[in-house]
């Protein structure tokens, strides 16, 4: 799909995942034992042959810049095209929360105009799925729609819901986490296909009206005069827009079917290249229903958990129903249940951290717990 330009927008998300997003944009949120959320959208694009991608980078986005580098991990370090960072229009100011902030694209209008691609895929970076964009693009061409919105049926959490008729034509957009339409909920996967020409027109209109949200100010208002259609994706997906969905989706990865569908059935999900040995499992370990990345040293018990790289779990420690980010150290006899430990957290000998059932607790990056018998 050489003729398609990929654009990745950034949601304004301060604090959406509590302390996890205090110092990271949504795209850079660690996920699934070795990834960051942006890896899914980038890999999906690259797997479909889209290798010109503009990615909106908000101010204070060192973690995302460091992660993406020149795009090598995705094969995007190219002489022609590849990965281009589009500085956000907003600086550090947190204005009104827009779902798809078109000011960021208007701010980079020259980039859009100079690219030769005529077609666009715009995607957010907080949807976890492995989608074949070839099929989506073909569907978009077949219907001749002005704008195609990728969506899925089902009861899952989302940000924007759609009312579509049998032909797929969208007549109404409903915004808000819990405002599902009464009939057959259809959730948007925050992916939009349209001609570049149309986006440029829209951007100029937005500049005139000073209203900048693709969803609220454009799609929701123009359902009649634009032909906006739904493309139904029936694979596994999760929209990560709350701590609950962040935790739940990673627990879903522990299902062999989801694992197969997300990582083995279609193209690979790529991420930044990292070095390190395979994980070592000591004689004293017990591991069950868990995902464990490379570079870990596991001597304790790990159950129903996702463990990132370079984690050390000592003998006698028990980790259950938890998400353990890179370089965490869990000392002997510690007990963890239902917690999300951010990067580099240290849990001392015999320390207990247990979250109430169904309410995962986040432990901030670099925090240390050494007091014996401490509880959250």
């Amino acid at each position: 799909m050489k003729k398609v330009l990929g654009l990745v927008h950034q949601m304004k998300n301060e604090g959406l995942l509590k302390s996890i997003t205090h110092h990271r944009c949504m795209a850079a949120v660690p996920f699934g034992g070795k990834y960051r959320l942006v890896d899914f959208v980038l890999s999906n694009m690259v797997n479909a042959g889209i290798d010109n991608i503009g990615l909106v980078t908000p101010a204070g986005s060192r973690s995302i810049m460091d992660h993406l580098g020149g795009g090598r991990g995705w094969g995007l370090d190219k002489k022609h095209g590849g990965l281009v960072f589009l500085p956000s229009a907003n600086g550090r100011k947190t204005g009104r929360r827009r779902i798809v902030d078109l000011r960021d694209f208007y701010h980079n209008l020259d980039f859009l105009e100079n690219r030769e691609e005529e077609e666009l895929i715009i995607s957010g970076s907080n949807v976890v799925c492995n989608i074949d964009y070839h099929k989506v693009f073909q569907g978009h061409l077949d219907t001749g729609a002005d704008i195609t919105v990728v969506c899925s049926g089902g009861e899952k959490e989302g940000q924007v819901f759609l009312d579509a008729d049998e032909g797929g034509r969208i007549h109404r957009l409903i915004i808000g986490k819990n405002k599902k339409p009464d009939t057959q909920p259809v959730v948007s996967l925050d992916m939009y296909l349209l001609k570049k020409e149309l986006l440029v027109d829209i951007l100029r209109e937005c500049a005139d009206s000073n209203r900048w949200d693709l969803i609220r100010d454009v799609l929701a208002k123009r359902v009649e005069d634009l032909d906006i259609r739904a493309f139904f994706y029936d694979g596994y997906f999760a929209v990560i827009n709350s701590l609950a969905s962040y935790y739940r989706c990673q627990m879903e990865l522990l299902s062999p079917q989801v694992l197969q569908e997300l990582f083995f059935a279609n193209g690979p999900i790529c991420t930044k290249w990292k070095d390190g040995p395979p994980s070592k499992y000591y004689r004293t370990c017990r591991v069950s229903n868990s995902l464990i990345a490379n570079g870990c040293q596991i001597a304790g018990v790990v159950e129903n958990s996702v463990v990132f790289r370079k984690v050390k779990i000592e003998e006698g420690a028990i980790v259950r129903n938890s998400i353990i980010m890179p370089k965490v150290k869990v000392q002997a006899e510690a007990y963890l249940d239902g917690v999300i430990l951010d990067k580099g957290v240290a849990v001392g000998k015999g320390v207990h951290l247990k979250a109430p059932k169904g309410q995962p607790v986040v432990v901030e990056r670099g925090a240390t717990y050494f007091q014996e018998g401490a509880f959250i």
């Binding site: 062999p256 694992l259 395979p278 499992y281 229903n289 040293q297």
Partner: protein, 412 residues
């Protein structure tokens, strides 16, 4: 070209026939090792970590995979302006060309490459050793001794000294005598096959060697003995760390098992001296409910439902319920079906082991008894083999897909 103080020439052309089926289709340096690496990663990572950014890799035997793997050296951060990794295969010039005849000859054929960097010293390395070594320390030593040649040596057990090239040195570590595989060794300092030459001395002796029609064109057998005879100053650099030559199936298997020791001497988790390798795009390893893993290393992309003990699993291995893997090395993307038993075996990449098959264990012990060789205690299954369900396999080397299964199968 930018002038370099020291460049490395990495000898990676050997066949490694004593690794049996592991090197049927790939050069020895490309053989996977340690659950994540290929053997050559250790030497290349040592170069990168030692600040040697210019490496010529001499290839000859089955080089395709090795060439592709090395590429521009990106995996070791050896790419970039100036030096980098260059693959140096045998070539034809205006006066003809030939295969590399020996280690010295291969470097002799590439004197032009060396000259293009005008280095003062040339480091000669083998691509088939497992170790972490700072070549810079050796270079400092070499310069301090103002040696024509410095040879890295390691103490080996006395009873094994007869298998190595043994260096006899004076009190200043100047080498007085070199004995290749001596029957009665006078000491136990073995050459590690790592040399630093003054470039001019190297060139002089490579030319002399090339003109000698009786020479085997080998550094150890010909070039170094000649330099000793002619009074060059050759010093031994004593190396204290972990070093293994993994040239045989047994040494390969033993070195792999040593990594699993709780107090392993090869520090794989040491962040200061990282061994680099190719990255894979697999998700983390998944352990199903009911799986069992003990004293093992398991790489990303594995999906484990069975039992793993004292074993090394490379990426993308699938172990189905009821399968048992013990004392074994399982290379990338192997599928081990339900009920399989694998005991003391090395399974090559992309192998499928059919349901209920038994590989190694008692079957190879029987075969080893017949052959009278401890070596054959270890079963080797070649890459891309397909092992039929419920078959019992002892020591065979090759079970090609769509081919008759070869000898070594103990039919039961």
């Amino acid at each position: 070209m930018q002038k370099k103080e020291c460049i490395a020439m990495l000898l990676a052309g050997g066949q490694g026939s004593r690794l049996r089926g592991l090197t049927r289709n790939i050069a020895k340096p490309a053989v996977p090792f340690g659950g994540q690496y290929r053997i050559i990663d250790f030497s290349l990572s040592n170069c990168a970590n030692s600040g040697i950014d210019t490496v010529g890799v001499l290839t000859q035997y089955k080089p395709q995979l090795l060439n592709k793997y090395i590429g521009m050296g990106v995996n070791w951060d050896l790419h970039g302006n100036g030096g980098g990794v260059t693959i140096l295969p045998p070539y034809v010039g205006d006066r003809g060309g030939c295969w590399y005849q020996g280690t010295a000859h291969s470097v002799y054929q590439n004197i032009d490459y060396i000259d293009s960097f005008e280095p003062e010293h040339v480091l000669i390395l083998s691509g088939d050793h497992i170790y972490k070594m700072n070549y810079e320390e050796m270079l400092v030593y070499h310069r301090r001794k103002d040696a024509d040649l410095t040879i890295s040596v390691i103490e080996v057990p006395w009873e094994e000294a007869g298998r190595f090239g043994i260096m006899n040195a004076d009190g200043d570590m100047r080498i007085t005598e070199f004995e290749e595989k001596p029957r009665k060794p006078k000491n136990n300092l073995a050459s590690m096959g790592i040399y630093i030459f003054k470039t001019e001395v190297l060139k002089t002796y490579l030319k002399k060697d090339a003109l000698d029609s009786t020479s085997n064109n080998d550094f150890g057998k010909n070039v170094i003995p000649r330099m000793l005879r002619e009074g060059c100053s050759i010093y031994a650099f004593p190396y204290q760390g972990y070093w293994r030559d993994v040239g045989t199936v047994e040494s390969y298997w033993l070195a792999s098992m040593e990594i699993l020791d709780d107090d392993a001497k090869l520090k794989m988790f040491d962040n200061d001296w990282c061994v680099y390798s190719e990255s894979t795009s697999f998700p983390p390893a998944y352990f199903a409910t009911g799986s069992y893993v003990k004293n093992s290393m398991v790489a990303e992309g594995c999906r484990i439902s069975g039992e793993i003990e004292n074993s090394l699993l490379f990426s993308g291995v699938k172990v189905e319920p009821g399968a048992r893997v013990k004392d074994s090395i399982i290379m990338a993307n192997v599928k081990i079906s339900a009920g399989v038993v694998i005991d003391k075996a090395i399974i090559g990449e992309e192998v499928t082991v059919g349901e209920g098959a038994v590989v190694g264990g008692e079957y190879s012990k029987e075969y080893a008894k017949v052959r009278g060789s401890r070596e054959h205690n270890i079963t080797v299954i070649e890459n891309n083999s397909d092992i039929a369900p419920y078959s019992h396999i002892g020591v065979l080397v090759m079970v090609k897909k769509d081919e008759e299964q070869l000898s070594g199968i103990s039919g039961v």
